[in-house]
Symmetry: C2
Subunit: 350 residues, 2 copies
């Protein structure tokens, strides 16, 4: 509990599953989708206690620096570090950049996506404290979310033996990539499987060592890119040509599935990756008919709908059920809730 | 066939069933809902042949004179008469004003709503010619639309004996107000019932005589209102105080159901009263999936939908069926096609 943990917020995503609100220029993590603040801002807020967490590092693309800086300013954070990726190369290289900026020493890095929500932050912080004990001893920690159903859109973690001295933390037997439904149901029954939330805690030196061992091309590219980075205010710019030589690989595939001494800290923080409009429906406050309405929207004899009427828009529905209706800017999306994942089909068509 | 017929276009409606496009300020007859032209303009165009039809009279409210004049100008009509009703008093008084402007003589008046569409105008004009023979002899003629289903939203006409010398024209046995479904189905089976399209042909003198006999208060109010009307360009303004004393009654109730010598000219002109968004779906050109799309709209794995994306809007739908989606101005309406009549419920709520 004595180590100060450095938050590393990965903000590389530009998900299209929340189109028309989420777009490449304004991806979902920067939108106030679940309340007054963006999910990026909520991620900052979770680790705002400077007695426990150091100034955050953010890894993002050049097109999103403005969003990051606006949210940092709104949160009153003036000492963050913004690592500007010349191009997206997936999570393993992004985290390597942060580990190098941290000095490559035994600093503990808490790697978090920027586009998740949690309703029980205390539970999350408690799990971090537990994991930190194992991480201090060299483990690479993942966080395992208690599954609420046989979700096929997430990777799973098979938990093994307890880690001595770290409350609830267990070894990882194996990682399971996004499963088929039958596999997901079997894992749910087995009980020792958890969702991989894409959140990690590890020492910078340990990560870089494992990366060098299992993904040397990534390690080499990132080392070279950070040999003499350009600095500009809060921003750090790795060398573009060097970084672009890095393979694009996830931390799961490049490191976690190969490294020794990987542990999982179970946690049930009321987590959602807000992966679709359907997830936002689940998160939203329901009216008496089970509608989640925001903006100027009226629903008559209508139930189970998610409606977002953007600024200046008015949505009026009658007699429809379980639809997603998003009016944003010039665009209007209409899709059944159960087909929310197919928004990407529309985006491809447009 | 020698008589020149004077078209009288009633433009008093301000239907809400096509909200959000149709509003009190811009009711449906002035909107280009079925093509490039408004239904009011299409009504003018049907009787544009000056060898057969005199300059039209239009009866409308003060708030719609601008729409009427714009469409008249676009149609190149400079000799119309616009009778400006101080307030709506239903159709019997409106037609009385026109009959008085026509001089109260044996001029034949072709009374038409301004918000219907017809796909076979030739059939309509042929039926007018047939009816005109009976009208010349003093009959009041209605036009009976061949029913295509047991519609409960229309009045019905029971046809009787043939009118000698007027091809297809028959006496009217009785008028049936909007029926219950069972009644409608029975009439459909009986075969001698037609829909009352609200289109009439009659001599001005005969109408005024029947009105004086069966609705003397209306006749008196209209006579007084037209004793010294104010003229202003194409516009005629009846005396407001006098007109406002008129009862508000339909021509059907005040005259047609009571008068002697009422006939019906059967006609099948591909008629629609465009009474709901569902009617516009029926009229529209369908894509391979049975969608009627206008404006910037895409439908993926979606069928049977009516979508209108207004200027600057883009509607994208996936996996939905038989919906009406209207994006117009700031408003977006979503309702099942089968509930199109319930748009009025939404309008009442707003």
């Amino acid at each position: 509990m004595t180590h100060i943990i450095t938050p590393v917020i990965l903000s590389g995503g530009s998900g299209t599953r929340l189109w028309p609100m989420s777009t490449p220029d304004a991806p979902k993590q920067f939108l106030p989708l679940t309340g007054a603040h963006s999910m990026f801002r909520l991620t900052l807020d979770r680790v705002a206690d400077r007695a426990r967490y150091a100034a955050p590092m953010i890894v993002c693309g050049p097109g999103h620096v403005c969003h990051v800086e606006a949210d940092l300013a709104a949160a009153g954070i003036t000492d963050a570090t913004i690592i500007v990726e010349p191009a997206a190369r997936n999570t393993a290289p992004a985290i390597a950049l942060a580990a190098l900026v941290a000095g490559g020493d035994d600093t503990q890095l808490l790697v978090m996506p920027s586009d998740h929500v949690m309703t029980d932050v205390t539970a999350f912080l408690r799990a971090i404290d537990a994991a930190s004990v194992a991480v201090e001893q060299g483990a690479l920690a993942t966080f395992g979310i208690q599954p609420s159903g046989p979700e096929t859109g997430y990777g799973y973690i098979a938990a093994g033996a307890s880690f001595p001295g770290a409350a609830g933390v267990r070894g990882v037997e194996r990682f399971v990539e996004k499963p088929a439904l039958e596999t997901a149901m079997a894992m749910l029954s087995a009980g020792s499987y958890m969702w991989n939330a894409g959140i990690f805690l590890m020492r910078a030196d340990r990560y870089l060592a494992e990366l060098a061992a299992h993904a040397p091309a990534i390690a080499a590219a990132c080392n070279k890119a950070m040999a003499a980075p350009r600095r500009d205010g809060l921003r750090i710019h790795p060398d573009s040509a060097a970084f672009l030589t890095s393979p694009a690989v996830s931390i799961d595939y490049a490191v976690m599935e190969r490294a020794a001494n990987v542990v999982v800290a179970p946690v049930d923080p009321g987590w959602s990756d807000v992966g679709s409009w359907s997830a936002l429906y689940e998160l939203g406050a329901k009216d008496a008919d089970g509608n989640v309405l925001s903006g100027n929207a009226i629903a008559v004899e209508a139930s189970g709908n998610l409606v977002r009427a953007g600024a200046g828009k008015r949505v009026a529905m009658l007699g429809v059920s379980d639809l997603i209706v998003i009016a944003h800017g010039d665009d209007i999306l209409i899709i059944p809730r159960e087909r929310a994942q197919d928004v990407k089909t529309i985006v491809e068509r447009l």
